[in-house]
Amino acid sequence: MKFTLSWLKDHLETDASVQQIVDAMTMAGLEVEHVIDPAVKLAPFTVVRIVSAARHPDADRLQVCQVETVDGIKEIVCGAPNARAGLTTIYAPIGAYVPGLDVTLVEKPVRGVISNGMLCSASELEAAEESDGIMELPDDLAVGTPAVKALGLEAVIDFEVTPNRPDWLGVAGIARDLAAAGVGTLKDQSVTPVPGKFPCPIRIEVDGEACPVFAGRLIRGVKNGPSPQWLQDRLRAIGLRPINTLVDITNLISYDRCRPLHVYDAALLVGDVISARLGRGPLEHSEGDQPSPAPHRDEQLIALDGKTYDLGPEMSVIADAGGERPIGLGGVMGGESTGCSETTTDVFVESAWFDPIRTAQTGRSTGITSDAQYRFARGVDPQSVVPGLELATALILDLCGGEPSEVAVAGQAPAPPAAFTFDPAYVKALAGLDIPTSRSVAILEALGFTVTGAEPALTVTPPSWRRDVEGKADLVEEVARIAGYDALPSTPLPETPRAVGGVLTARQSRARTGRRYLAANGYAEAVTWSFTSRDTARLFGGGAEALVLANPIAAELDCMRPSILPNLIEAAARNARRGFPDAALFEIGPVFAGDAPQDQKLVIAALLAPHAPRDWGKHGEDDLYSLKGDLLGLLEELGAPVASLQTAQGTASPWYHPGRSARLQLGPKAVLAEFGELHPAVLKALDASGPMLAFEVFVEAIPEPKKKAVKTRGALALSPLMPLSRDFAFLIAADRPAGDLVKAVAGADKALIAGARVFDVYQGAGVPEGRKSLAVEVTVQPRDKTLADAEIEALSGRIVAAAEKVGAKLRT
């Protein structure tokens, strides 16, 4: 909402400066967004007079003008056809920034003639949206007069109107709050009724659903035309385009009182009844829909913007011709067929009240956001119907002449807000604000509330324009915001008992631990969108209809992600295209298996794009085994039972390389993680170059740590006996996982064998085709006595036998 200081002063007696007003507005909840001060913008621009204008020697369309300026006579090249000797206009010197062109003037020849500045049009000064030629100003302006003064421009205040306060969409409403806040005195806003000279010849009929109350009157014999300069200036200052006096008056009152009106050219009305009813077309016209069958028929209106709109049953339609011909969308926009023009002599003025929800819906269906629609959708004061009409009548008679009919009213305004009981002590209780009751009452009264009764049970009636006020908390806000939030105390929160074990749940702690662990191990944390494209989602087992957004921000972000990996793959590919192919990324965030709350799972995903920098020490590049090491380390930090994990090779999801991926699981239904090389086809589909390695940890699948009453750990039992280690080399089928052999070996004697680990894998000379040699180091921990050679021999025998059960033969 924009307004000017002079406009505000129509309603507020004040000496406050623009800055004081802006500060008071901000602290009362009218959040000022900008103050546009043309005096700053147009400081270098001044009034000049053209002394002579001659054709440019080398250009037909240019003139070389001698111009009398504040700095003496200047030669200026001008392309405007209306540049002529004697014209008073506006000039910009060299060095001036011309806002409408977004250029700073520099001295340069125009077709060989140096131009010492520029003669300006209204649009170049941003004083009009468009203009034809340079400005033509009254000849009585002195040369050197600042442009701002010559054009009557003043500072415009632009502020954000919160949706609860439609009354701030009128300057009078702003003045009321500023007066309450102590910035000035509110002027009398009452409206004097204009008596009618004859009965209104047009009858109004309303369907209460479409339009609860509708007032109108005919004014005969008006003379329409361009509105007077003061009115045009006032509208232009806030960015409105003057049209003609009748229309300008409705716009003025819309912005002055938040009271939208509409004017019809009575000569163009058919019949003598104007009715407000619901639209007769089918509900919701959308592409591809089959036209709905009877009883609805299609109904359309060509509105004042020249566009044709389908009128659905959710819309208020104004119609003439016995209710048959639509001539307006109630509260939104009038129709082209009955609009007022300069030839209008008889005008019918509409002042009605339309339901906010219906008007908002009509705005959405039609895409129209007019000043009227904006106001009615937020809620216009229903009690302003007749006063608004009287105000318009007075202005029309004043500016256009004519003879008014009596006022015709149909329907009933909705009931005003109900009175309720208010204990002023609640101001202290809710806001903590110590303020005398008399001050609270004074604030409420200044804002238009009626307060009666005595403490502790005051009766408060909100004014008709404050339909947002429903209860005592609203009144506390009114008192507190006018008294000023600066006056609120700063009161420490009462101490509460703290959870002795910290505030995070196991899941929250795991996310934190995972984050710090992976960052410490060389992965950079990324945060990527929760959405991806539906096609990509399908590659990762997602893309269900329920997870597709109806209104995505971009087509490639139209579906909730089933996995974090596609986002990390695309991020790594983007980095590679920039010349950084060695991404090591992780993300901890949600994935979505469905649209129910429990379908959202927390995943820790990491991705490695292996890229071996050449190294003098031949240190290996990151491979799947180093990734596996990172993953197992992570799982251990997260409290997963790592020793019990099975590595289920070849069972991971299809976006992994089938031969180079595995699940880490406690059982087929308890999968804690998947890892592997990513499938080349998936990478190709995402336009990424491989190989890339990745893992996904399903945080909720990790068993919750057991809650124990005490934090003591089991006693540490240290054997006094030295462990010993024995190496075995086995031959086993090349495609048999080493894990099978290790598991068998470790299980050969659970009491004695403390660990078994593969330390060499060999295929080639000396090993039969189709087999591989696995060298296993077995650590033996004697329990109660040193082992004799014979006992060690026996253990070795058991180990070899156990290995044979999985098809491994001791290599001899």
């Binding site: 929800i357 806000e477 060389g522």
Partner: protein, 370 residues
Amino acid sequence: MTDLTQLQADLTGQIAAAADAAALEAIRVAALGKAGSVSALLKTLGAMSPEERKDKGPKINALRDAVAAAIADRKAALDAAELDARLARETLDLTLPPPPRRKGSVHPTMQTMDEMVAIFAEMGFAVAEGPDIEDDFHNFTALNFPPKHPAREMHDTFFFNEGPDGERKLLRTHTSPVQVRAMRVGNTTPPAPWIAAGQEPPIRIVVPGRTYRMDSDATHTPMFHQIEGLVIDKGIHMGHLKWTLETFIARFFETDAVTTRFRPHHFPFTEPSAEMDVGCDRSGGEVRIGTGSDWLEILGCGMVHPNVLRHCGIDPDVYQGFAFGMGVDRLGTLKYGMPDLRDMFASDTRWLAHYGFSAFQAPNPVSGLS
């Protein structure tokens, strides 16, 4: 009888000349071994008369000890020399680079989130969570957004297509739906264990999480992070809200110089409502907090609307409290000076390395936030 003095002189000379451990050992065997020259002398003691033994015994033993000591000294000297030689051979060129090692980092949004949670945890707040895909009830209706009210449109909501049950799910536009879950007295078994369950007052929680709005420019992204705060108890008023946020902001920006102000605003779910500004300096094209005379809006807050309490089954005449919500990414960019919010989610490895945090900078009350 061999001349003991001569023998000692001979052996000492040989020992001193031994070039290595093997030569020294050969000398030791030749002198002190079973058949060695000194051992042979020692063996002669047995055949001597007591008088003779009394005279020769100490001399021969002294000879043996002197030779043994000379050998030990020489051995120590040879060992030291050999070690020196080995160490010289083992010299490495330490100007060569170490094996390449990736440097990991924590994302600034997550670091900021951890900082915020640490501050509020110290003030007695627990951490609650809720789903990103919400329903109209939790995101709007229960939060006192009237159906079809323009305030809903201001949220630029992402919607899903209508389901078979006619319900249209949405992406939460704020973390406030978790307020509703945490306050709903009847919500005793949440849909998943990690989702907030309803609790009786007193309630003191913060809710960090992802939020979504259809918006994209330098200061808006379609996904962003919020942290929500909620305090419900008897006698909680706006003064407590003001203290909590003033305290938070000073701790977050780690300066007592930060100034704040509260302005009236409107949110459907709070009454009275406020926005909080921090004092800043905008000259020079960047925003500096804790100095200057400009104001920058950083969060919205207010007293929980009686209708919201009623929706959740809490009697507003008994309990009242406050709520606040702020943009985590945005506060992170203000504190750490990233110019464009969109870069937060672009995963440029150079950006992550520059603006990311070390794993060991976990915010905690002992060593500070950053």
